[in-house]
Amino acid sequence: MLIPGFLQSEKKSAQVAPTVVLPRSRHMAPRQRRFIVILLILSAVLMFGYSAISLYTAMIVESQPAVPVTQTPAAFGLHYRDVTFSSRIDHVRLRGWFIPGVLPNGHLTANRTLIVVHGTGSNRASPLVLGVSAALARKGFAVLAFDMRGMGQSDPAPLSEGYFEQRDVLGAVDFLRSGALPYPALGRPRIIGAWGDSMGAATILLAASHEPAIRAIVSDSGFAAIVPVLQSDHTISGIFLPGVLLAVRLLYGINYAAVRPVDVVARLAPRPLFFIQGTADSVVPPANLSLLAKAAETGPHAHVQVWQVKGADHVASFQVMGAIYIQRVVAFFTQALGPDTSTAA
């Protein structure tokens, strides 16, 4: 019979089979085991520690406290109204001001309206944003200055450095075209332009690639791509950056690698673009200016202006140049958007 034979041979081979134990391995095993155990503990501590720090950093970075709005255009003697509108696509509630432009004869106008967009950790009431808004309004441009999602008085949301915020700019365009404007007598804007600083500038560039209604853009200290800025910024330690970027993507669906205005600026042509940046920018390396300008110039019939402000730090060109800054920005918008044609004038 085969089965008893097999069993018999099984017994035999079981006698033969026992593993040959070398005396050496008996001595080495505890040392080996200790080494492997240390390796296992070390790798686990490093990996879990890395994951925990990355996830925690991602959550901290994404939920920065909103800076309160402490000033209004009234401080500059300007008319304004509070406005509320929703972002495009995800309908996040945004709050802002509509400031009518003041014509030389003192009449108000909304003929040429500029969307003014602030940067990270800021809001519409920051000295720069409110200062520029007030100066532009006095030069006859109506201004829609608003708090982007998660900032100022707008609804809380994760910070995405332009990835989601571009929907806010698109919402502002929708509001100007079809929303309930607070000065009905002034009518709807004939033409829309946009001014932004830092993330606000990058966000406008991204939004304008989806929205042809934005006819001219001033980008002050905008970045070409966010990841290299984060790498050079050292806010997040370099080794943790890949983990944090991954965590941000998993937790919030934000793909920082896709925040690359440099890839879309060529598509904005022939719309006029004006890039401004300080040569001493310590947040967005000054090379971003030339990267953006060069990319923008590759578009068909591109109209690109560049202004490097000597010695100015990040978003400090207005502070350094003052009236000259406003003069140049106003000249750009006047050329790009044409003169005010409102009947109110």
Binding site: G5, L22, S25, L40, L42, S43, A44, M59, S63
Partner: protein, 134 residues
């Protein structure tokens, strides 16, 4: 015509086959012990990702801070689950290796020990990649 096989040669080939089967069985034992922590870790990682996706889907219309709290909860649970499963599976594997060692199965113990070393490297691999790629 082929010669009928002798009882001795049949026993020899059966023994060979058995040794082979035994070796395969040992290999599977070792692999199972070595891969268990990695598989459990991967499983808990996938589970955590699933949980995060569910939280994101369920709380899409909720306020940001509610979503943030739930995400924090999901992430903490996931990390704890991963640490727990990894520790338990490693302890189990080390005990098994010691048992093999004590029952004179040094080959299996040896293989599994080095296999766990490979596991440690695999666990640290993402970190090493981050270190070299950043």
């Amino acid at each position: 015509m082929s010669q009928p096989l002798s009882e001795h040669s049949i026993a020899q080939s059966t023994a060979r086959r058995y040794r082979f089967m035994l070796a395969c069985q040992h290999l599977w034992h070792v692999l199972a012990i070595v891969l268990l922590p990695l598989l459990l870790l991967t499983g808990s990682g996938v589970g955590t990702l699933g949980l995060i996706v569910l939280v994101r889907t369920w709380t899409a219309s909720d306020a940001f801070f509610v979503r943030q709290m739930l995400l924090l909860l999901a992430v903490t649970l996931g990390l704890l689950l991963a640490v727990l499963t990894y520790t338990v599976s490693i302890v189990f594997a080390l005990r098994k290796i010691r048992a093999w060692h004590e029952s004179n199965q040094a080959g299996k113990a040896h293989g599994a020990t080095w296999g766990l070393g490979f596991t440690a490297l695999m666990v640290a691999l993402p970190l090493l990649l981050a270190l070299f790629l950043h």
